[in-house]
Symmetry: C3
Amino acid sequence: MAEDTKPAEKEKMTIVVFSGELDKAIAAFILATTGASMGMEVSMFFTFWGLNILKKNEGAAGGKGLMGKMLNIMNRGGTKRLKLSKFHMFGLGTGMMKQFMKENKLPSIDEFIQMAKDLGVKMIPCSTSCGIMGLQEGAFREEVGSLAGAAYFLNEARQSKVSLFI
Amino acid sequence: MAEDTKPAEKEKMTIVVFSGELDKAIAAFILATTGASMGMEVSMFFTFWGLNILKKNEGAAGGKGLMGKMLNIMNRGGTKRLKLSKFHMFGLGTGMMKQFMKENKLPSIDEFIQMAKDLGVKMIPCSTSCGIMGLQEGAFREEVGSLAGAAYFLNEARQSKVSLFI
Amino acid sequence: MAEDTKPAEKEKMTIVVFSGELDKAIAAFILATTGASMGMEVSMFFTFWGLNILKKNEGAAGGKGLMGKMLNIMNRGGTKRLKLSKFHMFGLGTGMMKQFMKENKLPSIDEFIQMAKDLGVKMIPCSTSCGIMGLQEGAFREEVGSLAGAAYFLNEARQSKVSLFI
């Protein structure tokens, strides 16, 4: 009886966001926000170049030590700097894609991050990747959760109905 | 008893095909047709550059509005225009790969699409991506199913034993 | 009763390693070795450019026939030749990433392969990809298992809690 009355557990979805390109970021957030709207419990785990999506648009480039600073100046990140994986064409193709998104009433990545946050999607930066990329927690925007490692991700993924690596 | 007599449900596999490169297309179709041959019910969900794989080889480039037309002239698509993600080398590497596929008696992408269709693999273009890429339903070859959105994909994926993002 | 005494089956994880870039290889091995450390039974299935990770660093380039030899000279492979998918910058970015890995006490790819082997991770080259890339079994390092096809992978994947395509 007690079992019948406890709330049903939500189905989970877990997405590794490895890539930092605009098109892959759009795909990841469409899936995450759609899943959350369908009632799934969604975790996004950002690793490597995917961390760029979560970096603050303003302020210093971040990065620990001289090499961390250098890497994060070259690899500045932030939603406004994401490029297409193909046809970037010095900004022409990327600008066109953004225009198409607007015409199709699709949110921008900034709006997607806010929407994901509002829908309860967890956005977790991978702690090991932060180490490799010379990044500290302060580099990320406020919607972002605490850092966690690969074991955290795998523990979520093994309980998930859907796990994707993007 | 009634339960015992109903046919066992097939195990499902769902593949997101995001990439439009020849090598990733080959990998996706090898997995899809192998899964279907093993008795799995396979759905392929084509998004972004993956839509190029399903575009007609002949006829107009398609695309809605001036920008849609421009984008689809640059990003022409069709199985004959797919390139390797590495070592395309102005067609030399891509041609070599196709030669190797022939020598190893592997189907071409055109043959893979036909084989997938014959094995009952569903090939679904993502409706949101079609909007972003300025594409209309008529742009695709006849083997292709109706457009569907991310919610359709996630509903398939959550019932699947295997879900992959390629 | 008999059922109670048989050892519990391990949860499985299966990873397709399609990409041959240093950053994706690191991500794949972090996940594989973390999963194995958590008690999962992990299979890595190497296809296409991912095969480069498993090639011997020394000796002949391998490759069957004239075209196989040519392809494998251009596409030499081996852990020492892996590059970043972004910011390779004639070796500067790749060297920096390796430096960061060392500073963060992360294993090198050679060490990761050894660690994976020690943890019982199966590293399987895809037989079809070997055909397409003109590769023979002798091209791979000794930690690597026997070749297997897509049906082998799908059979592992359908039993797995987590399947990823990297």
